[in-house]
Assembly symmetry: C2
DNA sequence: CTGAAAGCGCTAACAG
DNA sequence: CTGTTAGCGCTTTCAG
C-alpha cells in the first residue's frame, strides 16, 4: 500500500475541512449551479490540500449517469484496432465520455463475458467490432437501452447501427483490379481464423468476383500465430514451390504481404512483372518497405471517429435520428506491386 | 437505442419475478452463502428470462469493493504496450480482477488526468508505466491506499513497488557488446522524445559505457511521428551521407532498426562486416526480416505478468510482504547484424 | 437456509 | 447562493 490510511476521503471530509455543506462542495467540484467565488475557493483549497478524489461510483449511482463508453475489440496486437481506438479517443476527448476497452481474442463466448462485465457498469454506449455475436450478446445489447455501434463491417444486419466498410466489396474490388491488369494465376494467403468474419468476407468477395470472370484461385495457404512477417515469407515460399506458375499473390493483411514481398525480392522475382502482390489494411508500416505494397485502406481511423461521434451525439440527444448503416469506401492503393497499364 | 424500455432491470425485478427476497437473489447471483437448490434454480431462471445484468455500480458502492485494476501506459501504437497488456490480462483472467486501460500519450499532465479519472472509480490497484510522474500524480497514488506497481523501468525510486528492467544498464551492455566486437565509429538513431524516459536512459547508459572506453558517438539523428520503418530508413541514409565512415548504428527501437536494415541492404553494404546494427525491444516482427537484427529483449510479457501477479497477491492479502524493486534481466540477441568473433 | 433493516458516497429536487 | 431530505441498487449485518 502506498499509504496506511484505511479510509479514502469523502465529500464529507471536504465539507468539514471547508465548513461548507456537502451539497455545495459537490456543486463546486462538478462546476454545477452558482456558487459564490469565496465559497468556491474555500472548497477547492480544502479539496486540494486533502488530496480528495471524488468517488465516481457513488456519483454514478446517485445521478444514474455513467460517462463510460464500452469499446469491444478482438485484439490489441493487430495494429488495426489501436488505430480505431485512436480515432475513438480523439473524439471522446472533447466530450466528457471515456472509452473503456475490452478484448475478445476473436472468441464469441469471451465477447459475451466481456460484454456482460462491461454492461454491468452501465456505460452510456457500446462500440463493438463486427456484426456477428452470440444470441445472448445480442439480447443483452438490445435490452441495455443504450446506443450500440457495430464497427468495421457493414455486411450484415446491425443491432442498432453500424459504421464500417463492406469487406465483401473490398475483396471483389481487389479481384477486379487484379484481373484488369491481366493477372490470371492467383494464389490466396490468409489467416486460419474461422472467427475473423471480416477476413472471411473479403475472401468470399474475392473469389466471387474472380468466378464471375471465370477465374479460380489456383491455391491457398493459411497460417495462425507467430510473426506475421515470418509467416508471410514462409507461406510464400511454400506456395511458390508448389505452384511456380503463379502470377499474383493476394494476402489477407499487409503484414503477411510484407513478408511475402521480402521472400519474392530474395528470390529475385520481378515484381510486379512476373508476380504481383497485394495486401489489405493500408498500414503505415508499409511506407518503409523496399516496394510500396498494393493494398486497400480499411478506413480504421475514420471508423473510430465516426463511431464515437455517433455515440456522443446519441448520448447528447437520445431522440436523434439514426442512420442504420454508415458505409465508408476504401480505396485501392496500387503501390509498386500491382502493375498498372 | 436498441430498446425502448427506459428502466434497466434491478434486483427487485428478479425478486418479484421469482418470488424470492432481493437478498436471496443477490446471494444466488453472487454464489455467496447457502441457498437451497430449488430457490437457486428459480432465481437463475427468472434472471435469465428477464435478461438481468447486475448493476456493478451499486454493488461496488455497497460492498466497497471494485474488481478493477487501472493500467496506465503511454501509447497503444507502440507494440510494446499491447504486449505488456497481454501479460497483465493473462494473469488477471484467472482472478476476478479486470484491467482497465488508460493512455497518456507520453504527457505527464495527461497521465495526471487519466490517473485522477481512474482513481475516482476506486480500483483495487494501479499499474503505471514508468517511474517519472507529476507531483500531483504521486500524491494521488500515495493517498489512494491501493497497491501501485510502476512498470518497465527500475532506474529510480518507486512509489510503492516496481517491475521492469534497467534501461541504463541495457544501454551500457549493448555499448560493451558493440565495442567488444571491435566497432569504433558508432552512430545513434532514436526518437525525438524528451518524455520517453526509458529511451533517454538507454541512451545515457550507452554513451556512458562508450565513454568509459574512451569512445564517443560520432553522430546522432532523431525523429518523431510517421512510419518508424520509413524514418529508420531515411535517418540511416542521411546519416551515412554525412558520415560515411560509420561502422555501427545503434537504433533506439527495433522498428527503426528494421528500416535501417532495409536501407543498408539497398545500398549493398556488408552487414555486419562493414556496418553492424542493433535495435531494442526484441519484437516478433524482426523474425521475418532478411537478416535477424541484433536487439535486446525488453521482457515485455514478463513485466506484465509479474506486475499483475503482484497486484493480485496484494489484493488477496494486503499484509503481504512487498519487494520494492523487481528487476528483470534482458539478454542481448546478436542475430546476424552484430558480428561475433 | 431466508429475510429485514441500514447504509455505501453521492446527487436530484426542493426549500429557503 | 446555500442547505435539507431522499433516495440511486446493491450488500452487510443481524435476526429469525
Amino acid at each position: 500500500m502506498a499509504s496506511d490510511d484505511p479510509r479514502p476521503l469523502t465529500l464529507r471530509d471536504v465539507s468539514e475541512a471547508s465548513g461548507v455543506s456537502e451539497m455545495t462542495v459537490s456543486r463546486v467540484l462538478r462546476n454545477r449551479g452558482d456558487v459564490s467565488h469565496a465559497t468556491r475557493e474555500r472548497v477547492l483549497e480544502a479539496a486540494k490540500t486533502l488530496g480528495y478524489v471524488p468517488n465516481k461510483i457513488a456519483g454514478a449511482l446517485a445521478s444514474q449517469r455513467v460517462n463510460l463508453v464500452a469499446v469491444i475489440i478482438p485484439s490489441l496486437r493487430n495494429m488495426v484496432f489501436p488505430e480505431v481506438m485512436a480515432g475513438i479517443s480523439g473524439v471522446l476527448e472533447n466530450t466528457d465520455l471515456q472509452p473503456v476497452v475490452g478484448v475478445t481474442d476473436y472468441m464469441p463466448e469471451k465477447e459475451e463475458r466481456v460484454l456482460y462485465e462491461m454492461l454491468s457498469w452501465r456505460p452510456s454506449g457500446v462500440i463493438v467490432a463486427g456484426l456477428e455475436h452470440t444470441e445472448a450478446s445480442i439480447a443483452m445489447l438490445k435490452a441495455s437501452g443504450i446506443p450500440v455501434v457495430e464497427i468495421m463491417d457493414t455486411d450484415g444486419k446491425p443491432i442498432d447501427c453500424a459504421v464500417g466498410i463492406s469487406h465483401r466489396r473490398a475483396g471483389r474490388e481487389m479481384a477486379r483490379a487484379i484481373l484488369k491488369q491481366g493477372y490470371q494465376r492467383i494464389g490466396f494467403l490468409g489467416t486460419k481464423m474461422p472467427l475473423d468474419h471480416r477476413a472471411r468476407k473479403r475472401f468470399e468477395g474475392f473469389t466471387e468476383a474472380l468466378a464471375k470472370e471465370g477465374v479460380e484461385i489456383v491455391t491457398q495457404e493459411f497460417y495462425s500465430g507467430g510473426s506475421a512477417l515470418a509467416k508471410g515469407r514462409e507461406m510464400t515460399r511454400t506456395m511458390l514451390e508448389r505452384e511456380p506458375e503463379l502470377d499474383f499473390l493476394y494476402y489477407s493483411n499487409d503484414m503477411i504481404a510484407a513478408g511475402g514481398l521480402m521472400e519474392l525480392l530474395d528470390q529475385g522475382i520481378d515484381i510486379p512483372g512476373q508476380i504481383g502482390i497485394a495486401g489489405f489494411n493500408g498500414v503505415e508500416l508499409l511506407d518503409g518497405l523496399p516496394r510500396r505494397v498494393a493494398t486497400m485502406d480499411a478506413c480504421r481511423s475514420e471508423i473510430g471517429t465516426k463511431a464515437a461521434q455517433v455515440i456522443a451525439a446519441r448520448v447528447e440527444n437520445p431522440e436523434a435520428e439514426i442512420e442504420r448503416i454508415m458505409e465508408l469506401t476504401p480505396r485501392i492503393s496500387y503501390g509498386d506491386t500491382l502493375k498498372r497499364r
